[in-house]
């Protein structure tokens, strides 16, 4: 369990922010704890009532604040404590994911998952897999540099006048 050992030999350890719903994934993560399932310690959970409450701005803000990766997780379809919050969230996330992919953000930095209250082991796997994957992608300096280092922003090569007529 490579991913369970933090900061091995001073290597890069990704910072992951997780946005999870209170009823399924948060409880599933509780179960992982109760079952003493060991996992990587890189993830910080922010508890929301429902995936329906998760605004894409949360993920943007997390990247702005230096997160290298994000996990978004909630109840499986048909299992939402609030009937349909996860269905609305699913459309929102699908569009958001394709949008940021188009804008050049590697979607490997975001894990979307359904983890039920009984899936403690699945939560552990989601955590470990995300940490491993984001560790492979390296620190998300591109986003962090957006303000601090304007020099890294490449000069404009094309303008819209050239692109679409």
């Amino acid at each position: 369990m490579d991913s369970a050992t933090p900061a091995a030999a001073g290597g890069f350890e990704p910072r992951i922010t997780a946005f999870v719903c209170n009823w399924c994934t948060y409880t599933g993560a509780d179960l992982a704890g109760t079952s003493r399932l060991q996992m990587a310690s890189n993830v910080r959970i922010i508890r929301l009532p429902c995936t329906g409450r998760i605004d894409p701005m949360f993920m943007i803000k997390a990247f702005e604040r230096g997160a290298d990766g994000v996990i978004v997780s909630g109840c499986h379809p048909a299992d939402c404590h609030y009937n349909a919050g996860n269905y609305h969230a699913r459309r929102r996330f699908a569009i958001f994911r394709e949008l940021i992919q188009f804008l050049g953000i590697d979607t490997g930095r975001i894990t979307f998952s359904w983890v039920s209250a009984s899936e403690g082991a699945k939560w552990r796997d989601i955590v470990n897999d995300t940490v491993t994957r984001v560790r492979g992608l390296g620190p998300f300096t591109a986003y962090r540099k957006l303000v601090v280092d304007p020099a890294t922003v490449p000069a404009a090569k094309v303008t819209s006048k050239e692109v679409p007529a």
Binding site: P56, A94, E98, S160, P164, A165
Partner: protein, 290 residues
């Protein structure tokens, strides 16, 4: 054009409406016009330079129009989709406006242009547009050309970007978005950006940093795109008014493709058709969710 002027004159003289909103000849090409007297109807024009989406003026954010009472608006098919959006989202009551559709075979990219409409001068968004007239309209006037075939250059550019490695796409967009001065012209001109107070102006908390730097800019443009998902009618105004020439149409077009591919949705000028965001199907695709 005679047909349009006569209809406007009749609507005004019969008192059906207090104003007709259309286009007129300005010092620098076509421009929006408010006509409030029957004689003023002769000022109205419609030609390929009439690119502005006049639906923007119907937004309740613009109270001066509301003061005029019942108005008529001249609409291209794409503008009618925006009006449908305003009706769908309870911004204007349908009975408070008279909609005058003009048949349209495409417009130019620039209202100041003097070039004739052709394969090379047509606005990119008009390529492949299937609509020649607004189904929502109360009256439809004029004649239309055959339109221009797709695919648009934007669609090609989107494919080109999609084929790039992700970090090169990032570089492309950072080059573009870093130019943004956050003048919010894209927001002000958008017929469907009608919030009383924009989220970008909210300071508690400040989700979108307001100063024009790359980090706030990407947050703003992501937000704008998310808010327009399934709502954007592709009127092209945001890109036209951008003083920095940022290809905003690529983003709105991309989002339109996503909702079309995933949810089989195309913006419609039927207000009864629900938008794809705010509805769901239990079996919506979820291949990206573990």
């Amino acid at each position: 054009m005679t047909e349009l002027r006569e209809l406007a004159r009749r609507l005004l003289s019969e008192g059906t409406v207090n104003a007709v909103l259309g286009w007129e000849e300005g010092p620098r090409g076509a421009r929006p016009a408010f006509v409030t007297t029957p004689d003023g109807a002769d000022r109205l024009i419609f030609d390929p330079r009439c690119v502005h989406d006049l639906a923007s003026y119907l937004s309740p954010r613009r109270p001066h129009l509301k003061k005029l009472g019942k108005v008529a608006v001249v609409l291209k098919p794409c503008d009618a989709r925006a009006v449908a959006g305003l009706i769908r989202e309870t911004q204007i009551p349908r009975e408070n406006v008279v909609l005058v559709g003009v048949r349209c075979g495409g417009v130019l990219a620039d209202p100041e242009s003097t070039a004739p409409l052709s394969e090379t001068t047509v606005a990119d968004r008009c390529r492949g547009c299937p609509d020649r007239e607004a189904k929502l309209a109360d009256h439809v006037v004029g004649t239309a050309g055959a339109g221009f075939p797709g695919p648009s250059r934007r669609a090609q550019k989107i494919e080109e970007l999609a084929a790039m490695p992700v970090d090169r796409r990032w570089d492309f967009w950072q080059a573009e978005l870093s130019k943004c001065v956050r003048c919010h012209a894209c927001r002000q001109v958008c017929p469907l950006c009608f919030c009383e107070r924009c989220m970008a102006d909210k300071s508690l908390p400040r989700w979108i940093e307001s100063s024009p730097h790359a980090r706030g800019n990407i947050a703003w443009h992501i937000t704008r795109a998310m808010h327009l998902a399934g709502r954007c009618v592709d009127c092209g105004e945001c890109e036209r008014v951008c003083p920095e020439g940022i290809p905003l149409g690529l983003i709105t077009r991309k989002i339109a493709q996503v909702v079309s591919d995933r949810y089989d949705f195309r913006p419609s000028d039927d207000p009864a058709v629900p938008a794809p965001v705010g509805t769901y199907r239990m079996d919506d695709p979820q291949e990206f969710i573990l």
